[in-house]
Symmetry: C5
Subunit: 309 residues, 5 copies
């Protein structure tokens, strides 16, 4: 994610234009520029397709429908971005509430359980982050008690593995009488929420906008840009070229930003800073349960740079 | 569902255009093409209906209202698609949470109950999928303990039958003291959610957009396409024919995609991959409860093909 | 409700146009037709109001605002329709979950309680349906134990009466020890939801769109249709008459459909099939609790006809 | 609130136009009429500001942005109106559920507690209504047991006082063993909801649309209406005057209705019938708990008049 | 926040225009004014770029897309503003419900616990307010029992510290038997909600609209304003200058209000009155738990001034 509030705007723009989405956009604009140059030269020197007489009401109605479709696209993409951000916000809340609750429930002296929970709760966001980024890497996860890390290797689904560790430990404490009936009921909702967040993120990742709409909007833009030069060439002359390229920049750019935003768990320029959020959870959870955490980890949780992953 | 991210776009387009919706669309465009050809020839050679002088503000306002209605249609259809996807996302979460919870609650040695839950939980999505696709087929359901499969045959409503098996077994464990008061309360919400998902899907399936709106939008498009050639024929000449066909493609196509998307539980090209999601739940639940599952089933849960049902 | 999926579209259209909304619409279009004929003849033969020179940008902006208002109207009406449908969907879910839960909780042999719950749960949707349709008729309600039906006559608010019967019986079972603490807590949410659904439906019924908006939209449409013939008469000549009538059909029709849809509990063509949903709940609940139900009732729960109430 | 379904529409319109919002609207239209008359006469007889040549695309785009802003305004106002109505709907539900629950839980013979709850529950909506209408009047509240009414005088916040009475009484019953553990847990959510509804209503009341947007929309309308006569005077002549006044009626009227609707707890023509809803809750609660209520109070709960407060 | 209901509108406008957002807006309008003056003079006296012949349908479609994007921007900004307000509304509710609950649950004589809860609950909104405004200041927080304030200094995250104090105290009361099982379960949801509100506010603060959209909208406005003078200069002459400046005021102003509104926790003119809401919670909580609070604090909770922080 590009952090732009109170930062140099120019630096942010520079970073933005070096990303892969920006590069793909440039590629398409070059194609449009070549096409419109050919059309303009041909229309002005050789032929006349009569399309320049297109009644304005007809083209206008098409332009409005295209605009509305692009805003529909923008809205759905933004909703997914926001839903993903909300899911991670719920995760931050929930991990903190879990830590606060265990801090209040566990006996002062039970340092071993405290450390277990500080580490295991903080492991969940890292496991989820890697799961969403298609990585099975568990190097960022803290080892919780001897042998437990090996346990995770049994699970194909790492977040489910971490959630499992938390449940098994909690049920053991309950069976041993360290957690009362009411505390057990209270804990349930926090532990359930972990996997609920995981499910929401998986859903956002695996279900983009339906194929039909994606294809339909792309075809519609292509059609509009193809017809545009014919309708303005008489009025604009050689200014047709920059006008059509600028229009394409707006239409194609809006569509491509939507495509990038709607799956916000990757490493693209606009994606969510999952690394930083995971670090933040780790710092908060250790802070609340009063378990020592090296200073270098606390630094990483602060969004001090322009680009955060 | 067509999987198009990171796949060949052209292949996806090809698959899309062989679907029944695409074919129905082609049929309607042929009708439009014939109509517009007749009108164009008639207007240019024989008569003049004066409609070409339609003031642009009048036709423009109608075009805008039609565009807004089509976007309203698109929004409601997409909302149902998304609501259906969310319901299945909740089902995935809930089945995993049920498995994690029973894994933590059931004694290590109680292999029989573990196997019952692994199979019965995984049966629910398959029963729901077939129920939504109007099939009573129970071949995909695993047999849970001798005689229980026969039980399902008593139920007209198979998902209710599976839910019933889960409840009866759980209440038995509770009455026998294997599940404590607080565990019993915690389990309740997971078991309830199964039938809630079923209800949401049934609702989406049985209540399309109200008949009045469906009919109204169809009539409005028909009216617009009927009048369109008269208003552009003077300016476009024979180019009227492709212009009107393209416009019809956009208007009719958008309406038909909406119709297809709004009931996302079928086997159409844009429908949800219920088969794959059910397999995914089966794999995850067995993974969590550590019950052996043949490798071939794990493969089927991966969306490795362009078209997934 | 008109069932139109996979049915003859023409038959559905025929049924639609015989409904009272369609008839009221026809009445208004006749008034518009008379008015526009008078204006057209007067303008063409006698006078000239200069309104035909209305700048297109001015009329266009008004047309867009009117379109946006109509879509706002359509959205709010549809949201109420959908909210009403969702409430009944929740009712279906909840009644089934109640039945499944009592089936698992009640002892196998307690046939009397089983029958009580099968009948009392199934009575709730019928009581709610009649309440929403302003009827106090209790003929469709099954008699639950001797004397209980008489009880309902004490209640002005029949759904509250049925809910009351369920609560009293459940609290009795709890006090007699047939329901444990945790089962009692679990049951609470199901029983509460019954009256929540009732409240949502009552709210939708008693609060239409605020009077100001309703009046404002009607006046705006009237104004637009009144001015329209003057602005197109020069260009269209006698074609003004069908053009204005068609435009009125679209504007007035959209507004009237909104009015009909926003209160979806009546017996109009687009209203929800409350009868069928109530029958469906009765069939499902008896199916789950394994109480015999005559075959004729099962039939009525299937949406086998074009028009369902 | 004006009740207009199945009532004389003309009577409703009359009532509407005697309200303060309608009067303020008339005042502004008179100002517009004077302004536009001066401009029209000046333009036609003395000078020419060239503004009549404003390109239609420029004014059109501004008109569309203004239309979209007005619909944004309408949407947010309506959402608040609807959120306020939903809150009161939840209150109706919740009070009925509380009554049904206490009816089932309290012993048949405990007439004193029954009467306490019938009166105290019914007091809450009245206390909330007066709180929202900035009145400290407690005359409509029933006296609950000797001395308790005096208690309310200690509270600045009357609804919190009533909620407090309910909680204290319930905790006493619990401590004395009349309410079991599970009944106590079940009751919690009903009692919490009372103050939640209060909080939602207070929020809607105290936070109108942000000042910037309110001011921005007003300035935009003023600008549009100021420029409008110049752009149509050549085409319309003296018809400019009614045209601009009508347009102002639409723009200003829509904005003023939004302002009135967004705070729906007052005594304006479009506000919610809080008096009637409070009476309805009182009647229902007494009906359910079988406490006698004079017939005159039942009458007041029926929306039998055109204007209901 | 500017309080404008029933206050002098002119005074509100004056306050508004002295804020930093208004000043930044003025700065940009000066730049636009200089640019458009140069263009107008150059076009009228020296050259002719033919852009004045831009077909209206082309510029109109761009204007509509820009309008829709600005409304999308406005909607998302307003949604965040409203979500922030809702979060604080939930906080008000929740603190009151906590106070009401402890008032009913704590023994009459336990003045020490009552005072602890009155102070600790009221500390939470102040801690949250300062946290959101990037301040670590704890001067506004009441000292709760000897030594507890020191405790807060251990926490980097002050709201988590206050929440922690509440949990630890509550768990102690529970362990000592002053709070029963069911009371403990009931309390859980209130205490959890405190940190949930904190998380929602942090999320709104740390995630503005994605960088791509922010940049895209700014570039689009710049492009539109740059091209605008060329298209109207022929028609308007020197009136081009005020026309373009006014248009810029509307476009740039709408975008800047969105930017200001979307992070509503600061001290800007449109931000939420967190100080006043915190004071209101303190007054209400002390009122309910009947702990003495100096009169001066009660005054501060009333929104009696035009500008409230």
């Amino acid at each position: 994610m590009i952090i732009y509030k109170n930062k140099g705007l120019l630096q942010s723009i520079w970073h933005f234009h070096t990303g892969p989405t920006a590069k793909a956009l440039m590629g398409r604009l070059v194609v449009v520029a070549i096409y419109v140059t050919i059309v303009t030269v041909a229309e002005m020197h050789y032929t006349d397709l009569r399309l320049k007489d297109t009644p304005s009401s007809f083209l206008g109605a098409m332009g409005i429908l295209l605009s509305l479709l692009l805003i529909f696209r923008t809205n759905t993409a933004y909703d997914r971005f926001y839903e993903g951000r909300q899911a991670w916000g719920v995760l931050v809340n929930n991990c903190r509430n879990l830590a606060i609750y265990f801090n209040a429930v566990l006996p002062e002296g039970d340092a071993r359980s405290r450390e277990f929970y500080a580490k295991a709760i903080a492991n969940f966001p890292f496991a989820l982050k890697n799961h969403l980024r298609d990585s099975n890497n568990t190097a960022e996860l803290d080892i919780v008690e001897e042998g437990e890390r090996r346990d995770l290797s049994h699970f194909d689904h790492k977040p489910a593995g971490v959630s499992n560790q938390l449940w098994v430990k909690t049920e053991n404490l309950y069976r041993e009488g360290h957690i009362s009936e009411s505390q057990h009921i209270n804990l349930n909702q926090y532990l359930t929420t972990l996997m609920d967040v995981c499910g929401v993120c998986e859903r956002i990742k695996s279900t983009p906008i339906p194929f039909s709409y994606m294809l339909f909007i792309k075809l519609f833009i292509m059609l509009y840009v193809t017809l545009l030069p014919f309708t303005v060439v008489t009025a604009f002359g050689y200014l047709t070229i920059p006008a059509v390229v600028l229009t394409s920049y707006i239409l194609v750019g809006l569509e491509m930003i939507g495509e990038e935003i709607e799956e916000p768990f990757g490493l693209e320029r606009n994606d969510l800073p999952l690394n930083q959020l995971s670090q933040l959870i780790r710092v908060n959870v250790h802070d609340i349960l009063q378990i020592y955490l090296p200073h270098v980890e606390k630094q990483a949780a602060k969004p001090g740079f322009t680009i955060v992953t």
